[in-house]
Symmetry: C2
């Protein structure tokens, strides 16, 4: 079987990439953060809804606002990363659909009349986009440390007040220090996770 | 800025990859379906929970079981794909944690005592894994057609009866026919979706 992309690239985005716990403190350029977004935004979402929103926490002042909401086991390592992306979802994403999905002008109302569908779509698709974000960051030479151990309501009040944006998960990004990587845990075999019918 | 993986590879997984609506009917080998899983399974999940489960619908008989649950707009194109992955999440994933996350034997009970956390973790992380699946399939030369327009309860009753597995979304995979690709919709700009603080 031929690989559409090289074995080295598969290693970079999946096979040898590892969640990081220690970081180089060299700052990341704004251009690099923008490049990650510019790449990941092409990943597919339902009705091109693109509900994910990103806050890149990079300054000491912003990190100090984030710190109290992190679980104790995540606090020190997260503060040491040059950037932490708060990946949220905007429950007002239907407002963007006339622009993002112009081929069906009624799609905004499909969601507008169904808050449960809006919530489920926003959570599912912002999670997809969070995964695209991780892969895109790795593809551009960065390391990731994704985490869900934090107080979502506290982060929402601190960073998303006055909006309908809710936090989904956070992801430290930067250049990892291999000394902080844990031994790799196993994965389920094909037969444990999959069936062909 | 140097790219850790080549521009061609970035095109393959993000920039020129497109959601497909028409398919070559050439069958996919079981080895290729397994290769997609073997690649995507390395993507990170919370506490290595790996809650996603995959049913690859490939036979005519299995497609006939799936068809009635698809939204009308998705039915014909989905039936024409050589394989359709039903991506689900197993609410019993805590049972696998002693194997998948051996460094914290208490993690199984953390979830076991908190059904809401279990549900949220399963949905969020199976969505991440669904995105890894899309990227991995593209990286191995396949095209994808992800969809959430189907009757989840009907699919669950048909394919996951007697388990605690729930469907998340489905994804046609195969080799797409460019004639079925829609014009590409826009994405939000960095300033519309992101902030640096």
């Amino acid at each position: 079987m031929s690989h559409a992309i090289s074995d080295d690239a598969l290693d970079t985005i999946f096979r040898t990439a590892r969640t990081q716990n220690k970081w180089s403190d060299a700052p990341l350029s704004e251009a690099l953060l923008m490049a990650v977004y510019d790449l990941m935004r092409w990943g597919p979402t339902s009705a091109n809804s693109c509900p994910a929103r990103f806050v890149f926490v990079t300054s000491d002042a912003a990190k100090a606002r984030l710190a109290p909401h992190l679980s104790e086991g995540n606090r020190e390592k997260t503060m040491a990363a040059p950037a932490v992306a708060i990946i949220g979802y905007d429950l007002d994403f239907p407002e963007t659909l006339p622009k993002l999905f112009p081929n069906n002008p009624k799609m905004k109302d499909v969601f507008g009349s169904n808050p449960q569908l809006t919530e489920t779509t926003a959570f599912r698709n912002s999670s997809l986009q969070g995964a695209y974000f991780i892969i895109a960051a790795r593809a551009l030479g960065l390391d990731c440390g994704p985490m869900s151990g934090f107080n979502n309501a506290g982060v929402d009040a601190e960073f998303f007040a006055g909006t309908n944006i809710k936090s989904n998960f956070i992801c430290a990004i930067g250049h990892g220090d291999p000394a902080g990587v844990f031994p790799r845990n196993p994965r389920l075999s094909f037969d444990e996770a999959c069936k062909i019918v």
